[in-house]
């Protein structure tokens, strides 16, 4: 029976190398400090209210919503990889599946944690389930994110139970084996839930008739941003996975994932980014020429205030869309790790920029003739609270990497990058 008295080395899988427990603790210490500082900031916000932030009546959404949307999109690699492996049977992506689950879990749980601080009355969160407004995109987001976080937690359990000591508990082993049979079902459920909430996050803005920068026509009850958010999330998810895997390889100085797998992730991300660029361009043209004028707003009005000029739109479509799609798809660049990583990085930056403009530019622009163009700078409490999410992510991932078999290849061969 495993117990806490078991030496740290005994918790680490056989055949893999890990740094000493003391060095591991030292490396994580700054992240624990950041986590503690962020938790203190979160406490201030909960104890004294959201006056600790720099949000206001004209800027009711800020850094937290922008980054929440971004990390939820980046965490899409979890459901999408599950979908590719279990539904589309792309078994070659199995080596990154565990990392995808852990990264997805971190992204979603971090986002939900921040949302818990961001709402004025967190204890009333259950009201959404008790008095749901079925017309609200936010209701759909709340339902699907909560359910999907449970799915991610369930998907995390089999990964957790593969720990060396936990595997020694017979009942855990049986549970893990039986539970594993459920994983394809969970992948299907996760895909369904994720498609809806990723889309609804886009729908949040697309339905805002009173915010002409965000408002879009669409299909049935869904504005076009619903579909664009899904597409951009499934394009960025694999890229983020590629980035994380490469980052872990760099930090641990080990080859953890075959280049072919990374290339596959890059190819999938590249194809989807290319489709997204086309869809986004068509949508932008439709919005500038039809939707916005129909509401009585000239297209150039949306870009009349610096720094939110047309360069931002072009950067999003070309620099963070077309360019990385080319880098990830062109055989010459896609065959080199450096270019793959750079392409994936640009795709992820594109997601950040898109979620930034949809949140911040939407609110900064005036609507009335006597409105002012507004600016907003987050307070240190907002920045630190989100810093806690980053620290939490690093700690959870590091602990998972140390004690769980996240990369199956690692056990087979432990090679130093420098040795290749």
């Amino acid at each position: 029976m495993a117990s806490v008295a078991v030496p740290d080395r005994q918790w680490i899988a056989r055949g893999v190398e890990r740094t000493s427990a003391s060095r591991f603790a030292t490396l994580l210490a700054p992240w624990f400090l950041l986590l503690a500082f962020g938790l203190y900031s979160a406490y201030l916000c909960l104890r004294y209210g959201l006056n600790q932030t720099n949000m206001d009546n004209r800027f009711p959404f800020g850094l937290w919503i922008f980054l929440d949307l971004a990390i939820i999109a980046l965490g899409a690699g979890a459901f999408f990889t599950g979908f590719l492996v279990y539904i589309l049977k792309m078994k070659e992506l199995k080596p990154v599946l565990n990392t995808a689950v852990v990264v997805g879990f971190i992204c979603y749980s971090g986002a939900v944690g921040i949302l818990g601080i961001d709402v004025g009355q967190p204890l009333r969160s259950w009201f959404t389930f008790w008095h749901p407004n079925t017309h609200s995109m936010l209701t759909e987001v709340c339902f699907c994110i909560t359910c999907y976080l449970v799915v991610l937690l369930l998907e995390y359990i089999p990964v957790l139970l593969r720990n060396r000591q936990l595997r020694r508990v017979p009942s855990f082993l049986i549970f893990e084996h039986r539970f594993h049979m459920l994983v394809p079902v969970l992948a299907g459920v996760g895909t369904l839930l994720s498609f809806f909430h990723q889309g609804s996050l886009g729908g949040l803005y697309g339905v805002l008739r009173g915010r002409p920068f965000a408002f879009r026509e669409g299909f049935a009850i869904w504005p076009s941003t619903f579909f664009l958010f899904i597409l951009s999330a499934i394009a960025a998810g694999p890229s983020f996975l590629l980035l994380i895997s490469s980052l872990v390889e760099k930090i641990t100085a080990r080859r953890l994932v075959d280049t072919a797998v990374l290339r596959r992730l890059g190819f999938i991300s590249g194809i989807l980014t290319a489709v997204y660029v086309v869809a986004k361009s068509v949508d932008t043209l439709e919005w500038l020429n039809v939707t916005s004028p129909a509401l009585g707003f000239a297209p150039w009005e949306h870009y009349a205030y610096k720094p939110f000029g047309t360069w931002l739109m072009l950067a999003e479509i070309v620099l963070f869309g077309l360019v990385p799609a080319g880098m990830l798809l062109h055989p010459k660049t896609a065959s080199r790790r450096g270019w793959l990583i750079a392409g994936a990085g640009l795709v992820c930056c594109g997601i950040l920029l898109n979620r930034f403009t949809m949140t911040i530019q939407t609110l900064a622009l005036p609507t009335l003739a006597f409105d002012e163009f507004l600016s907003y700078v987050p307070s240190w409490q907002e920045v630190a609270s989100f810093g806690a999410v980053i620290a939490y992510g690093v700690i959870v991932y590091s602990v998972s990497y140390r004690y769980l078999p996240l990369f199956p290849r690692e056990k087979k061969e432990v090679n130093h990058v420098s040795g290749r």
Binding site: G49, L50, N51, M55, D56, N57, R58, F59, P60, F61, D118, V119, G120, Q121, R124, S125, F127, T128, W130, H131, P132, N133, H135, S136, M137, L138, T139, C142, L204, V207, L208, R209, G210, R211, L295, G296, F297, A298, E301, A304, Y305, T362, L363, L365, P366, T367, L368, A369, F370, D371, E372, F373
Partner: protein, 251 residues
């Protein structure tokens, strides 16, 4: 009971910008005194009077005071459909857009949706100086920190008028019994209030005047707060280019 559609016509040529309506609104609706830490952008002003200029300088400069509050949008009300827990709705009987702070999550999505910036979040704990709690209106619940509030056309006064009608054993309220605080307090009678669905009412007739206009009518949300002015530049503010006057001011 016949369906009513309460609305207003605010005569901007009469408004002197005295702010009496803001004070009356705050007193009627138990809006707490401004916190020392509150700013222009974090205060609670369900009714606010904003000075607006034509943007010109010198002798050509013209100004108007614009009382702003919830516009009581009738069609595709932006804040109603977005609220995740049905804390906002358009009352079918009166057309008033109601806010239920007791159910509000404080997500502020409705504030993002409102093109008029007429919704306010309670960023601070409400505090009244000692003794001032005696001045609270017992008919209106105070709001706690972390919820959104807005003008509800003095709902407590509507309830009171309905109670009076019930005492008379009728469902028809006397128009004189239901007058929002801002309307009652205006020293120049700049605000005309009543049932827009009653074609014979003064407010319905004033709303049809060629000098009347609504803000952002182009959005198609059918606001029930109308304005009127004989000055063309003021009427041009209705659907003017966003930020136009501020831009001219900045040069």
């Amino acid at each position: 009971m016949k369906t009513r559609r309460y609305g207003m016509v605010i005569d901007l040529d009469r408004c002197t910008g005295c702010g009496g309506c803001m004070v009356a609104c705050a007193a009627e609706n138990n809006v707490p005194p401004s916190s020392p830490r509150a700013t222009v952008r974090t205060g609670l002003t369900p009714m606010r009077v904003q000075p607006v200029s034509n943007g010109a300088a010198g002798a050509a400069r013209r100004e108007v005071f614009m009382p702003l509050m919830c516009m009581q949008c009738e069609h595709e009300t932006p804040c109603v459909s977005v609220c995740p827990q049905q804390a906002v709705e358009v009352d079918k009987a009166t057309g008033i857009v109601t806010q239920m702070p007791q159910r509000c999550l404080g997500c502020r999505y409705c504030m993002t949706a409102c093109p008029y910036h007429a919704r306010y979040f309670n960023w601070q704990d409400p505090e009244w100086p000692a003794g001032m709690e005696h001045s609270l209106n017992p008919g209106v619940a105070t709001r706690m920190r972390g919820v959104v509030e807005k003008c509800n056309l003095c709902h407590a006064r509507l309830h009171s008028a309905e109670d009076k009608a019930a005492a008379r054993k009728t469902s028809e309220i006397d128009p004189g019994d239901y007058v929002p605080a801002c309307v009652a307090s205006c020293p120049t009678n700049a605000i005309l209030f009543g049932d827009l669905a009653d074609p014979g009412s003064a407010v319905a007739q004033a709303a049809k005047s060629p000098q009347s206009f609504r803000l952002l009518e182009k959005l198609g949300t059918e606001p029930k707060v109308h304005y009127r002015s004989n000055r063309p530049w003021v009427r041009a503010l209705a659907d003017g280019r966003p930020g136009a006057t501020q831009e001219v001011q900045r040069g």
